[in-house]
Amino acid sequence: MAPPAGQMRPGRYLAFFALIVIALYSLVLFTGDGQPRPKLGIDLQGGTRVTLTARTPDGNEPSRESLQQARSIIETRVNSIGVSGAEVVVDGSNLVITVPGEEGDQAKNLGRTARLNFRKVVQAVPAGQQAPPPTGQPNQPPSGEPGAGQPEGEQGQGEQDQQGGGGAPAGAQPAQQPDNNDGAIDAETAKQIREAKEQRQNPELVPADPQDQAAAAQAQQLQQQALATLQCSESDPLRGNDSPDLPLVTCNQDGTEKYVLSPSFLPGDQISQATANPPQQGSPGWEVNLEFDSEGTTKWGEFTSANVGERAAFVLDTQVVSAPNIEVAILDGRTRITGNFTQGEARDLAEVLKYGSLPLSFTSSDAKTVSATLGLSSLEAGLIAGGIGIGLVFIYCLFYYRILGVLTVLSLFLSATVVYAVLVLLGRWIGFTLDLAGVAGFIIAIGVTADSFVVYFERLKDEMREGKTFRSAVSRGWVRARRTILASDAVLFLASAVLYTLAVGEVQGFAFTLGMSTVLDLSVVFLVTHPLVALIAKSKTLSSPKLSGLGAVQRLGADRRQTKRVGPAVKEA
């Protein structure tokens, strides 16, 4: 990159750099919204961020396609709650929902799978005798006796909300299991799901042919077995992952009843409209009114005509929301779900039913609301830390390298200028948001950026110690330093790139800013620092030992020249 020693034209490099800066800032000021502000993450400006991790029945990575589909459905749900500036992005096998500002709390409810299925109730038993669910929650009253079913049910209801709330039907459960092992979560969950499926979705639970006596007897036995082992705890591994075309043994939402259900006869995606309505007289809670599309209407009509007097179960994410008796055939495709809903719950349910169910079930891995106050103080802390970091480096460099230290300061300043512009532009172009980890990346990069100068300056000293003048040391030292700088920056960049590609969440922001700083550091060292050092070397005043602080090594070099000349002479004599 640099021309051979002696032909260096510092002016050209500096002009080129100036051109880059001007170009960057023209882009910043005259494109997009013209606001020279980088996009801030919610931990710096306040807001809510929910990370949903996809959870597949077999523990494999979810397909790109279904993730994208889930993303767009969640995006619709986000928009429907009417917050502005919300974003849903796919990050590995995670979906990250970001809602800036103070209205993001609802975003925590958006990840529920909401897979609604209509199944026929084959058998229903009260769930009073169940053992306390293995949740490990100290607050949970032990419910050994039948009478405890109701409070227990309340709890179950609460937990269900949280499932939706945490954004994850199956989701929050791992968190509640004390014996949960980190790392092995996927395999472990997959195993649990498989086992639950074997027992509770056995095709022989409901015989296909009602006339087959042997099959019916066997089914009876299987049903009893499944019902006996089923625990109505909220940590149902199967939740959101049941197969609609198989029978299902499950509980209702408040854990008071257990059911054996037939395969689904009508899927929830044949719902065309869902609304939340206030409770009717005599009913305890809000209800959700549904309208089916034409196909759904036909199926619903057929089923209700054929099964008057029987019960139909509305199964949401593997749990029975309500299981009303069919009193009369419903042919107009309208029906309602009751389930002790509060207004909010009914509205949420209606929203998710209307906007479609997710193709994957999600676990809420990380749900965070940062208050604007905390965000602001984080931003402040980041800026102050950066300021102090730069300040300390300045002082050290000025003390140690004097005039070269001034160069360091100047170069760091220019580097910061470029970094800022790039930040703003990246925020605009690829939606890059600067979060706390990113800020830390920049602050740590200050040291790395300054290192390049140290490498160069120490090289200069090396050369001068060998007896060269400042001026000739500059070009020779540069050639060597350049190699070292390139190699070490390459290593650092490699580290950042690997981290960025393979890591998730905050790690990426950190790796991105660190890697970006490394690249920009190179441009500043090549285009600014080296030309400026060359300029200094040309000037007599500036390169005086007093200013450069290189007196000691210069003397050393001079001594050395001296001994080289004198030594042999003495010998000869």
Partner: protein, 420 residues
Amino acid sequence: MAVEEPEKTGESGKNGQPEPGPAKDSVLQRLYTGTGAFDIVGARKRWYAVFAVLIAVCIGSIGIKGFSLGIDFVGGTQIEMPAQGTGGEITPDEAKEVFSGALGIPATEAQQVGIGDAAAVQIRSQTLNTAELDQAKRALFEQLQPLGVNGQPTVDAISDSAVSSSWGGEISEKALIALGVFLVLVTVFLALYFERRMAIAAVVALLHDVVITAGVYSLIGFEVTPATVIGLLTILGFSLYDTVVVFDKVKENTRGLLGLTRRTYGEAANLALNQTLMRSINTSVIALLPVLGLMVVGYILLGSGTLQDLALVQLTGMLAGVLSSVLLATPLLVDLTMRDPKFKDQAQRVAARRANLARKAAAGRTEDDLDTTDDEALSAELRKEKAYAAAASVPARTPKASQKAPSAAPKGKPTGKRKR
């Protein structure tokens, strides 16, 4: 890095390094000018022992004591609010009480973080659902009235985060994969850029840094968060960065070494270490200063969190990194290299030549330093050595010949070097 200096003073000045500068320079002066002559390579056995003990302690601690894992690994809910309320300062105990009173669930932990205006109270508990969280936040707001950004009490001043226990595990798993990939890539890079032995030495030093940092975390009981895991990974970059700088100089100093009898590989490496010592120290100081700032500010203003976690792990790792690149990586490189018979022979030749010189040393002119960075001087020197070998009419590489080689050099013969 002042810590290092006293350690090294004891090592100084006892090897045969050329010392062109005035002999009585202070340690600092010698550091500054790079003429330190600290014999690090010579004392490498001692360093190995020190590092072995350190690593044993760290691994032992990790094995026995384990880590104290943050909320991201154990799961749970954390609520944070400003410690200033309309009714004066909010103490962690008050907050804990309000929390338990509102939910009937005891809070696991409540603590105050940060100081001054930025002080905040953090409450940790088991994972709460949305309704419970709402209830807790409302109760905290109503009873404690934390002040928001505009000085008015507001419920929005309360932050919360709920993490599943698998999240930290997931981040760590990915981080470990990243670590593996990085190690492979960087070994390939180093092997291409330097040589295989250097790549091995650098990676060993790197592993040392990781183990030491993890060990320090385990020993002191710092909380491990995903940010820590991330920080650990970036240390790798830094540790190698430092090693690359040192090895670059070693590589340069050992060019054409095999054809010369001036110094052994170990001595050349030690010289390189000395020449880059100040650079290593400066590099580390400059890299550590912002990190220190980050940590202090992070602690004072935010109490804890991403900033501080990242800073703490970087601080530990960078210290380990700079120590290992100087005291471990280079000595290791020397040992690896000295297994090569070619270098062993060369070391013998050097010894032989020295013995010879010492015998003949009536006139006190010590051998002068050869600047291996100077291509002209280097090739002149190489030519000269070849000529000596030819004059002895035996190939230079056999030990016997090399023993003769120095004696074959006519004493007063002008060398090409003088013209320099």
